[in-house]
Amino acid sequence: VTKPVSIADVLDRILLEEPTPTHAALQRWIARYPEHREALASFFATWAVQEEAPDEGVVIDEARVGAAVLEHALAILDRPAPRLSEIARTAGLSDAELGARCDLDAGLVTLLDRRLVRLASIPARLLARLGEALDRGVEDVRRALDGPPLAEAVRQGGAAFANAGVPVGAPLPPIALEFADVVRASALPEATKARWLAGG
């Protein structure tokens, strides 16, 4: 399945290639991306108006704006890393869709999402594929998968722990499951398992 080209990508390309927002240019881009016709027309009109807008000398308080922007950025950095399923939702993917894009089954995605798989045991190729599917950097994927198991794993992940020999109700182990072990126990086709076990 080919992912449709986003309007953001098209607009970036337009600004790189078109010196001015002429009607001829608009028609060329509509012909290439008719699915974005409304957005393209609206963007070209806005661009044209701003291109011709005189400088009225409006001065903004850059220090005040900058402080608010920085405060916002630091608040994001200070909050816990989002989990895998949250990033997937932001990217418009269900857990199943994410699994399909990365050669994982639903159980594996769940274990990764709940941070039950030891990060260092996850192949670099899987981190890269997750990043590609989610349009995030590998470092962001690592942060999503890192850290102690999520609290609900105690309630919902009992089976996974039981399979790994952890008694129900026992404190969560500081190091979770090995990726190779969960692949072997998964419902993935044998060929896919073999690929992951061969180093991804």
Binding site: R13, R37, A48, Q50, G66, L70
Partner: protein
Amino acid sequence: MANDEIPEGASYTRRPAVIAEIESALPRPPATWVALANTPESRGGMSSEAMVHLVRRLRHEPDARRVFGQLALALDGRIAKVVQRWARGFDQVTTEEIALDVGRLVLELCIGDGSAQAADFLEASFSVGVKRHTLHAVEKRRRVPKPHAVAAALAKLERGERPVEGDGGPGGDPDPEDDRGDLGGDPRTDTAHDPERTLVAAEASARTPEAIRAALAHVKNPRHREAVVLHHLEGWPITDQDPYTETLCRHFGVSDRQIRTWIATAFAQMRKSLGGAS
């Protein structure tokens, strides 16, 4: 490249000069980056693209939080400059709101709370990326009626009056001349022998784009101004028989008669502002 399709997940590459800047900065302590970031690029300072890269590098290093903050502030100063160029026509408060929205969005991308591809684009072409985000923020505000305009339109309705085109519109104050009849003409398509149409068409064709630009600021209603810009400066037709051609009627969702009235009103205001010199 103009006819190439954009590949899925298109990646953007940094310019060689930016790569060189980054390679030169990385061996030095992060604290030394701040002075370069606070120097305008035109005076030998760091490029905005390199700053984006360094901010992205520092985001998960708690020990470098101070430098991260200083670089982020310097980067936001660069963002504000782009915003002030591409978000004109608003008052100070609204312009600051736009600067805030764009600054937050760009920093979110830099710290990984958004599309990695969009962040990569900022490392490849910062000002273009910020310009796009700014125009998008402007676009959103053009679509949302200003509270005072909505209130004015509602007050008219309560008085039993009919709101005119532009009431509650995107930044447009009501213009009593909006509802006048058809006066304008489309120099591209019109052939009718209406004296008023001919007059307006002749006037428009006699004016150079430079003359129109010089007088545009005197057009009171933003929609009238937009119609003149799109029609006379960017070549948008008012109407067209081809349904695939974008026209002013389709863009504004009003009749060609209304568009011609807007343009005629705009030219009357421009003519008046020039004291009949033209």
